[in-house]
């Protein structure tokens, strides 16, 4: 089993996407994805979040292996230190630098079932690890059957656990929570940073859970407009927001996807199945065809999701380039030697 993915992001200040400090990375074919929320009050936390999510997806990290984790973290910290540019920092930034950057972390991966014979219906093991308040909602049939690591909206804390880019001698506090569950074809894994997660849990608690399938089909522009409206109504906190939807499918197109805080753009709708694909379903006696129908529909659905995923990725790559250009322009504008 693999993932088909959709990613939605919006910066705390939509007019300043360069200040977005969440990160998200997916290896859909490998069945692994990670989300991180860079702590806004620290420096270079967006880079730290980006670096960690990419590395987790590449390395399939197991935090239960303490020695291996410590070694992995040390290398990531070295990479962060090598990557950041501290040459032009102002006094107020220099004062912050000794604390380094911080981010929360959440990642999920699919693993083969260990049972023999394999269970029916086919399933895979879902593993999730979390540090801090980025959340996973495991949705089946439109209902969140697990929420992890936070179960109730009042549990969100202003000061969640976060992993630091410098060793401040407090790594013993990095207590990752772990979830292991069965995952079925068609399940939806919703990974989100805290603002979206708190809103989603509130909706679940009020008996009116988010219609996740609608979000799957939503354009990024429509999603951003909804988030802006929720913020204005006081229903969602002003914060960088990331929503990663992972549909568990039999097979998806190749992919590694990362999140980009993008300028508004229309996303493509899922491609409908062709008439030829639908034709064999017509005229089948309902009693004998039922199992095949289910399988065929699932296959069509998966292909539609995979098609959408490919379109999304093309879009994201394009938007990534746009973001890079915007960043270069911004940096050029504010280069210290250009200031009067």
């Amino acid at each position: 089993m693999q993932f088909a993915a959709r990613i939605f992001t919006i910066a705390k200040d939509p007019e300043h996407p360069e200040q977005f400090q969440d990160a998200c990375h997916v290896d859909a074919a490998g069945g692994i994805a990670a989300v991180a929320d860079g702590v806004a009050s620290t420096l270079f936390s967006g880079q730290w979040a980006e670096l960690l999510t990419q590395a987790i997806v590449a390395d399939a990290l197991d935090p239960a292996d303490q020695e291996g984790f410590a070694c992995w973290l040390k290398k990531r910290r070295e990479a962060w230190s090598a990557q950041i540019d501290v040459s032009g920092l102002a006094w107020f930034q220099k004062a912050k630098l000794p604390l380094g950057a911080f981010c929360t972390l959440l990642w999920v991966r699919l693993l083969p079932e260990e049972e023999s014979p394999p269970p029916t219906p086919p399933s895979q093991r879902l593993q999730a690890f979390a540090l801090g308040d980025s959340c996973l909602l495991h949705v089946r049939g439109g209902e969140a059957i697990h929420t992890f690591p936070i179960q109730q909206s009042p549990q969100f804390d202003a000061d969640p656990l976060a992993v630091g880019s410098l060793d401040l001698g407090r790594d013993q506090l990095l207590n990752f929570r772990c979830l292991e569950e069965r995952c079925l074809l068609g399940d939806l894994l919703v990974l989100c940073t805290d603002a979206v997660a708190q809103w989603a849990l509130r909706r679940c608690e009020s008996g009116c859970p988010p219609a996740w399938d609608d979000y799957w089909h939503m354009t990024e522009q429509a999603w951003r407009e909804e988030i802006v409206a929720l913020r204005e109504q006081g229903l969602m906190r002003y914060d960088d927001a990331t929503l990663l939807l992972l549909r568990v499918v039999a097979q998806c197109a190749e992919t590694c996807v990362d999140a980009q805080p993008t300028a508004p753009i229309e996303a493509a709708e899922p491609q409908p199945a062709s008439a030829e694909e639908l034709a064999p379903l017509a005229g089948q006696p309902s009693d004998t065809a039922a199992p095949d129908w289910a399988a065929t529909l699932k296959s069509l659905s998966d292909r539609a999701y995979a098609g959408l995923d490919q379109v999304s990725q093309q879009m994201l790559r394009g938007l990534g380039r746009l973001k890079q250009k915007a960043l270069e322009k911004y940096r050029e504008q504010f280069r210290p030697d250009k200031k009067e």
């Binding site: 300043h16 200040q19 400090q21 009050s41 420096l43 270079f44 004062a95």
Partner: protein
């Protein structure tokens, strides 16, 4: 669904506003309780420290986020007893009424070299470490205490700000004095300031009294009983009842406040003053 009051998060769209009103009368020359330094010296240290911390806290990779406006006003009288009500910010920001925290961070008047005492992690001994401290406000102590004039000016400044930011978290006014008003009864003026409101709630007026004596301080009292004198009772009546989010935040910080506690400190020393500033200004969501 109606929104709770004092819940608007601070953002570029919904900026916060902090206005400090500093007593610069002659009595601020006296030493602060539990300190060898003058009240005016300790006061500007606390205010400069607050500005420094807020600039650091609001900073990110791209500089300081423009999420709040800050005003620092001083009040005193001239030799002919005329009130002087003016911005205490100096250097490039002199004369400005409310200034964005982005500009504050970019424009200290100077950066003073200081020595900071920090504990040696291995030996526990206190070590003197050189550091740099930005300065925006310098001490002043002369003339009388035209408190009513100051509060009236605060009313004008905040009326304008609220008209431009009707949906923001309401402004927080921190008034620090060591004595009583010399230009009339300040309570009606304080009430006028407190009557100003954004859609998110009324302006919060917090009053802190600095003491020369090392007496027990009163922090956030809920009633007039037990307050030592009439000055304390006047400041109590001038101070806002603290809203529920403040009480919640205070509890997290280890303060057990009674319902109807007011934003007031009396007989404050330097430790109390800094606690008061931090507690009073961290209630705004998004600043914690």
């Amino acid at each position: 669904m109606s929104r709770a009051t004092y819940s608007q998060e601070i953002s570029r769209q919904h900026k916060a506003c902090f206005l400090f009103l500093l007593d610069q009368s002659f009595s601020m020359e006296e030493p602060l309780g539990n300190s060898s330094r003058r009240k005016c010296d300790e006061l500007v240290s606390a205010i400069n420290g607050w500005l420094q911390n807020m600039a650091i806290r609001a900073s990110g990779d791209e500089g300081i986020k423009d999420w709040m406006d800050v005003g620092v006003f001083g009040y005193r009288t001239d030799p002919s007893a005329q009130p002087i009500i003016e911005s205490a910010l100096q250097g490039p920001l002199a004369g400005r009424t409310l200034v964005s925290i982005t500009e504050i961070g970019a424009s200290p008047v100077r950066i003073d070299p200081r020595n900071q005492l920090i504990p040696d992690e291995e030996t526990g001994e206190m070590l003197e470490v050189p550091c740099e401290v930005p300065v925006w406000v310098d001490p002043k102590a002369e003339g009388g205490t035209p408190m009513c004039h100051m509060l009236y000016r605060a009313y004008e400044i905040l009326s304008e700000w609220i008209a431009r930011h009707p949906r923001s978290f309401p402004p927080i006014v921190v008034h620090i004095t060591d004595g009583e008003s010399q230009d009339g009864d300040p309570i009606p003026y304080a009430d006028a300031v407190k009557s100003l409101a954004t859609e998110d709630g009324n302006v919060l007026l917090l009053n802190c009294h600095l003491s020369m004596t090392a007496a027990d301080p009163f922090m956030f009292p809920a009633g007039e009983e037990g307050l030592p004198d009439e000055l304390a009772r006047v400041l109590f009546r001038m101070s806002s009842v603290l809203p529920e989010p403040f009480l919640r935040h205070a509890m997290v910080e280890g303060f057990q406040l009674q319902p109807n506690a007011r934003g007031m400190a009396f007989n404050a020393d330097m430790v109390c003053l800094i606690q008061f500033l931090n507690m009073g200004t961290q209630v705004a969501p998004g600043l914690r």
